[in-house]
């Protein structure tokens, strides 16, 4: 498969994530769309790793593992972010009983 298919796929997922962030008001959904963006990046990384592996693989057999490990770390970070993020969302829900980000506009101008 040419790499551009994967690029388009990832960027498409990424863009859908962005559209989600832009159009939804539910903080949890927005957060999920961010996760989608992260996954798009992950997919792209993996695809590129295979591409490099094909191009340079003979000389550097472990080259592709770099990107895969990177993806692994992204998942680690994502997990940490999720725990913090959900904690914050829950805290807000406890205070205002809503997860609508449009309600959050005390801070402006």
């Amino acid at each position: 498969m040419p790499i551009n298919y994967y690029i388009v796929l990832s960027v498409a997922l990424f863009s859908i994530g962005i559209i989600g962030v832009l159009t939804r008001r539910n903080a949890i959904i927005i957060f999920m769309c961010v996760e989608l963006m992260l996954n798009a990046a992950n997919l792209l990384l993996v695809a590129f790793s295979k591409m490099h592996n094909l191009a340079l693989g003979l000389n550097f057999p472990t080259l592709a593992s770099d990107a895969q490990i990177f993806v692994f770390f992204i998942m680690v970070v994502a997990a940490a972010e999720v725990s913090v993020g959900l904690a914050i969302i829950v805290m807000i829900y406890r205070n205002i009983h809503s997860v609508d980000v449009n309600f959050l506009n005390r801070l402006k101008n």
Partner: protein, 636 residues
Amino acid sequence: MSNTLQIVWLIPFLPLIGFLVNGLFRKQLSKSLVGIIGSGVILASFALSVYVFMQVKGGNIHLAHYFNFINTDSIKVGFDFQVDQLSSLFLLIITGVGFLIHVYSTSYMHEEDSKDFAKYFAYLNLFVFSMLLLVMGGNYIIMFIGWEGVGLCSYLLIGFWFRNNDYNNAAKKAFIMNRIGDLGFLLAVFWLYNKLGTTDYHTVFENAGKLTPADLTGITLLLFVGATGKSAQIPLYTWLPDAMAGPTPVSALIHAATMVTAGIYMIARSNIMFTMAPVTHYVIAAVGLATAILAATIALKQNDIKKVLAYSTVSQLGYMFLGLGVGAYTGAVFHVMTHAFFKALLFLGAGSVIHAMGGEQDMRNMGGLKKYMSITHITFLLGCLAIAGMPPFSGFFSKDEILAAAFKQNPLYWGLGVAGAMMTAFYMFRLYGMTFLGKFRGTHEQEHHLHESPAAITVPLSILAVLAVIGGLVGIPEVFMHGGHKLEVFLEPIFATTNEYVKEHQPHEALSHSTELGLMAASVIGALAALLFAWNKFSKYEKTDAAETGLGKILANKWYVDELYNTVIVKPLNSFAAFLNNVVEKKGIDGAVNGVGKAVNYGSRQIRLLQSGQVGTYVLLMVVGILVLFIIQFFL
């Protein structure tokens, strides 16, 4: 041999000392002491001037360099004095007439309290100092120092009674109009310096030939502008009548005898440059003549005794300029001298009258003073005759010299000059008649107080009267006496180059003696006729309430020149200044500066609306930003 003239610096220095002593110790000194110091220093200067005059007459002229006023690589101006025939003559006039007026003032100003009395004398001394500086300076810059200095003193003395705002206005007007002229003078000096690299008289005159005609014309015209300011010529003459606000002795000294003649001195001093600039000559002659006539017409209808004299002064100055304009430098200087005598005399006489009348200056309220003030009356009459140009009084000689020269240039000048002279005779005897003849028209109280003035007043009057009578004898024309024109001989070195130049470039036929005599006769007869007419008409003057009409009204209102200036210059300037202040400055420039601040504030209020508080909007704007950056990076 110049050693004998080493002391010239004392001549101006003594009045300066007088100024400082009177000025600084005005609270401590008694009036008599002030008078003695004030007059004494002038007397001493006069004595020295006489000495200097004698020396100069012996051919001993002197250039003194005291110190470097400005000495840089690019300009060198020495604090130099030049004492020669011309300056020594002026020295005599200034210190001589000045001394008499100082003496006169001791009595005239006696009613002032002692501080003001001292202040007055300090100013007067300062004036004499400045005037002496003006005539003794060895270059144009020193002359300019004196030039502005006399302007300052004139300002101070006109506004001496500073409680009265009219007087202050008059003083201000005098100074500002002088300044306009001074600007011309300054520009001329810049020009001169720029072309010749120096302003020393002797170098300038030696090198005058190197200047192009355009330069010469420009410089001389600008110098003449300076002269019109100081010497009250059209268009800058209106300050002089107003300057009568000052004490009368001041009018006599400054506004008749000395300061106003500074312009004549300056042009006479620079004669070679003017001679080489024919255009300027025409301008000077025209302006002088116009001033002479205009001022004379105005004087015909004035009722304030000092105003008449003031316009008369303007008119006489016009004659002097006419003389300068037609190349009769000696005649102009001669007229300066005789005018100093008789006009000082007339002013002092008028002062004596005013003194007697308790401050009254309106001639309509005078009359018949002959019998109360005999000395004043006689001296005044002599002065009037002198100014009217009656032979053999001094005015006759000087005025006719000018008129003769004018005729040589252009008979029209002469014709107009004679017309002016007739008017002069008329208004002077109108003045005389209204004041001394007829019956007294003032209040009883005034009549009760009428008295002859004390000796401090009458003695100077007498001396001046004598001078006014015989002063002309130093300049008896060739027609009457060969070599009778002693003044011309005396001043010959000053005008030597000019005379040579004239011989070479503009040779004129000398007037035949018969023509000259004819002209004299014509002018004398004309003046005499006017005199007699006035005498006849005003010896029985009665006060009327009828307002002036027609031409009389215009003349009484001085051709409305002040009003014209007011509408054309003063008011527009004022409104322009107001416009600049209120609109351009506040709304325009400051508004623009503040506008930047306001724009920032406004921008702040608008831009912060971007910060809507909505995450969605934020992200949207961020994504738009991303798009923009992508476009910049890849598609621009």
